[in-house]
Subunit: 369 residues, 4 copies
């Protein structure tokens, strides 16, 4: 049976980001929505991703000569309009027929960076062709088969992707009960896997399988040496994604990591971990500005971005909200979501007395009482 999904291409009304989720839920396939929304086990970490932002409070400064705050910043020399980039997410085709081909355009129109997952519903090449001018990162789920790894990294390098995101937190699938209860399997092929399968006797496309089965076929035994191997092969910066412990930082930097991506995978991998924001400040303190810190998981408000930056993040990534925009409005919906985050962030910056992103980073937050 063909999988039917959104074909919308239109601007969307946004009062706030969280309000988009029930609208998306009402129109989406139940299993696919469960996959998108769900987290691991009891979903405590999933919920704490949002609530943990309340553990720190903004103390606005006054009479600080602020007007029209400047949200622009850069990452690996790439100028971006605001410190908000796309988190890599598998299978955008679940929410929109155009899948990553739309998302990348929407992200580009917002002046930001797109991150493509190995498990996308468009290939590395297709995404590059859909939006040549958008800066792009490629997220690698390492295969047990180095031929696959080399093939897909070659594509990314050749297509001008600017960095490799090494997924470190997903050597198995988290225990996601929505998927089990819905008996969810991907209704569409993961196009990179399909292209490789067409070319070789490699793993199949993922169509008809759940995420746990797909992760289990990838490489479990990831090691610090993988960082250098990817760097040497691609000559691109390697960002390690899925960092939650400050104890990992020295090892990762010694192993050559060019960026630290603090994330608990949107609460989808190990339940019982802290809300992602609760881990950020301590990790950033150990990184100590040696490499950029990117942060995701639970960002739903401009103030969340503000608090993450003030806690040591250089860049914040958004995941589910971007797909809500994709579902409701295609290219324009994605851009609208970015613009809404920017609207809230610019208000927060103005009201907090911060003219630049550097000012935000220098802000001291208060502990909640």
């Amino acid at each position: 049976m063909a999988y039917h999904t959104s074909t919308e291409e239109r601007p969307i009304d946004i009062v706030n980001i969280p309000a988009l989720e029930p609208i998306v839920k009402a129109k989406m396939n139940k299993g696919a929505f469960g996959y998108l929304a769900g987290g691991a086990e009891s979903e405590i970490t999933l919920r704490e991703n949002v609530t943990s932002f309340e553990h720190k409070k903004i103390l606005p400064r006054v009479l600080r000569n602020v007007e029209k705050p400047d949200m622009s910043t850069e990452l690996f020399g790439i100028h971006i309009d605001a410190p908000i980039i796309a988190a890599p997410i598998a299978a955008h085709g679940l929410v929109h027929e155009q899948a990553e081909k739309d998302t990348v355009q929407g992200v580009g129109a917002a002046g930001s960076i797109f991150s493509l997952s190995t498990y996308g519903n468009a290939t590395v090449d297709e995404v590059a062709q859909a939006s040549p001018d958008t800066a792009k990162f490629f997220q690698l789920y390492m295969s047990k088969d180095d031929d696959f790894n080399h093939w897909i990294l070659d594509m990314a390098v050749n297509d001008g992707y600017k960095a490799i995101i090494l997924t470190a937190d997903s050597t198995l699938g988290g225990y996601r009960e929505s998927d089990i209860m819905n008996n969810f399997a991907f209704p569409l092929p993961m196009k990179n896997l399909a292209a490789w399968a067409a070319k070789t006797a490699g793993p199949d496309s993922g169509e008809g399988e759940g995420i746990a089965a797909i992760y289990a076929k990838a490489k479990q035994k990831l090691s610090l040496a993988d960082i250098k191997a990817i760097k040497d092969y691609t000559h691109l910066p390697v960002i390690v994604k899925g960092v939650q412990s400050p104890l990992d930082i020295e090892d990762l930097l010694n192993a050559g990591a060019d960026g630290i991506w603090v994330s608990n995978h949107g609460g989808r991998q190990i339940d019982g971990a802290p809300g992602s924001f609760d881990t950020l400040a301590e990790i950033a303190a150990v990184v100590a500005k040696r490499v950029p810190v990117i942060f995701d998981s639970g960002v739903r408000r401009g103030q969340h971005i503000f608090k993450a930056l003030a806690s040591g993040a250089d860049i914040v990534a958004i995941g589910r909200p971007m797909l809500w925009g994709l579902s409701l409005g295609g290219v324009q919906g994605v851009t609208d979501v970015y613009n809404h985050f920017k609207k809230e962030l610019t208000i927060d910056m103005q009201l907090a007395g911060t003219q630049t992103i550097a000012d935000v980073k220098n802000t001291v937050l208060a502990d909640a009482k």
Copy 2:
């Protein structure tokens, strides 16, 4: 379509202050009520304004020779019957046809000080004429146009207003979702703006616009130098309103501030800030009695006033409750609200073993466990 609102002039029954809000809600225009009641974004700060008072507890003292506690105090040499004054609020006309002309009389009858907003529905002159004997402060939202600033400050000085409140926290409107969802615009002209518009090519009256649009037309780039400029121009004490960070205090005092008004604008500006009470003690400690500390946001009980004074406030201001009284009873309703606060405060002072406001200020609160 004409805007219909209360014309009540009568005493009101008050069991407690929070119980007034649903009564007001039931009789008010939905958009106007949403404007009055709402806060920014998720309204977390709005709610914490009230709940934060529970973070500190009163430990009553016994056998302390207390009888008929004396609530009187003073501010800038003005005697007041109790340490409770009016917070400045825009557009009292939303809740009562007589608008600020009634409120000022009700406040005066309660032996307190009235604060008029630039964005009132009565002019500086009209308020002065409505209650010549009531002590009054004028709250300035600075315009980009210094001619307007001078014109309105001249009026305040000439009409005998006793202090200027410089609004420091509102260089843009907070992101208030009630107003967006209700598509709320002010149904009545802001009379000072209207008078200026009639006289010049200045900004229009605000009628038909939302608060964000109005704030955006005012001056964004407020600076410490504005304090001295207003002082020099008016020779009146200048209170900086909207202070939330102890880091601002030295700068503000060095810049000439004659009073520090701790407030988060009733949770209406930046969500994700602490409950206002949570910021008070640390700010007051830095002020260290060099100038008066005024406190608002979330005050709904006599015990809240007690706790604020014991945390370093010299004076507490009330906002929404005063307008609930105005809505339900006009002049008398306003006075009744003040009297109810005084009734609760006098009981608390007696039971806590405190004879005077100085005793209250010297009380040591306990941290909640």
Copy 3:
């Protein structure tokens, strides 16, 4: 209209103490129940009286040679079967026709001490006659009229009451909204007041008045000197009731207090005070065993008694639960309530590895995490 109330005299079934309250509520006059159950203002302190016990946890000890724990203890040389005595409460006639005459018998049958309020519905003499062998304390609400004070203290001394409880926390009535909303007034005379009124031109009996009016007619300006005056006049131990601040202790002991009664009056006086249990340990530490510490407010479980003793109380008093027993079963109901507390306490003592009340007092509680 005559006030109808319980005339029950029977044993009652008790699964747990809190379960009695809704049964009593269903059969009682609404205003009278509201008076009995209600607290001040928002009733936050009232609720925290019960929940504050969860701030400390029992860590049971094992293999400690415990069997049939001994709950007996003493206060001012009076042997009691368990460290549980009657808190003084006004107007037992609200819940039972026999009023304090039944309660004193039920308390005596439980091997405990009864405390009679000045504002009882039976006189000092009547209570003494109803149960001559029960140990009794008399709780004094001081009058502005020392003749009244001397007259009623003479009765207590002559009737063999063993101690005077000086009410220190009630120089005015707390702001109790149930009473206001129910327009509650006492339907029956306070018999001591009535006897004095019959004899003199003293204050009337309280019938038809609310508690705030009655308190307001008593003496507000209580002082430390009142302790010694009562001691000198009665030659009885004087316990100061209503202590919540450790800062008061040295003054009270220097002024001659023979006992410290930690209480927030069941949450009925000043809302915004801590749960009573939260104040106990610090106060007891300052008392440092110089005089007995009695504790009340919120005791509903045997484990509450255990925790209070382990936090420095020598004796725990129960209030509302005793009246629930009175309402449901008269004399026997009161005894049954005491026996239920003893049943739970003896289980707790056995399971916690504590043979005696001294062992319980030496137990170290853990902070809740």
Copy 4:
């Protein structure tokens, strides 16, 4: 009337462990379910047994060369497939006709250790015969009659049980209100008691009595000397079960305890104690690896096992979940429950970067914020 219970023997579907409880509840006798599910008094400790695991958080490590984690460990030289053993529970016959005879087989099939209660519905011998190859511990509730103690310990020794669990926390029954409200009495004989009663004039079989009555007939006055007496008599390791206070540890080890079993008896004995997990780390720190630490109470997730091991436990025991499996699927249901815990634990170990149980134990947890 005959007691009807499950006779199921089949595999069961498990999405998660907590989801089994309502299914069991729907099919079970109300009183028996209440006995199984209920805790003491207000059941605060019962609830905190599960929620206390949220007080600590897992910070997963990345790129640590982990693949196919090894969950195997050992206890007293007994190899087990995972650090999960059976907690001793009375009266498995309440949930399944085959009672402990099924449970022991299911546990054995899972490669774990079974613990038989004195109050089982199968004798020491019957359990041994039902599954000779399964490693077994025997839980002793000491009788006042040493002849009984010797007789039952002889059986355990002769049947090859590997350790004696001395129940230290149950010298009386906790105050369990479900049992009181349901008027619950055991519908079936406790077979060890019945065998002894048949042989002697000893205590009867427990049939028709509640747990409190049964506990009350056992020995109350347990002492440290009992440890050595059992060791000398059996020459088996003695584990003291029901430890909650770090203050007990030195005494227990000095008295010869070969294992410390941290437990609050599933919240069934003393309410007002901490969640069991809240007591673990401090106790384990005092034990300091001198003897094994076993932990139970509230374990419902693989992550709970992970957190317990990382807090100092060597082995985790499961209670109610095992009986839910027994109820729903007999032998296979028990094994399925173990396998589900192992499935979650292995995912957690892989995702947390831990290859072995030793790695898990060396993991540093974060305090929840």
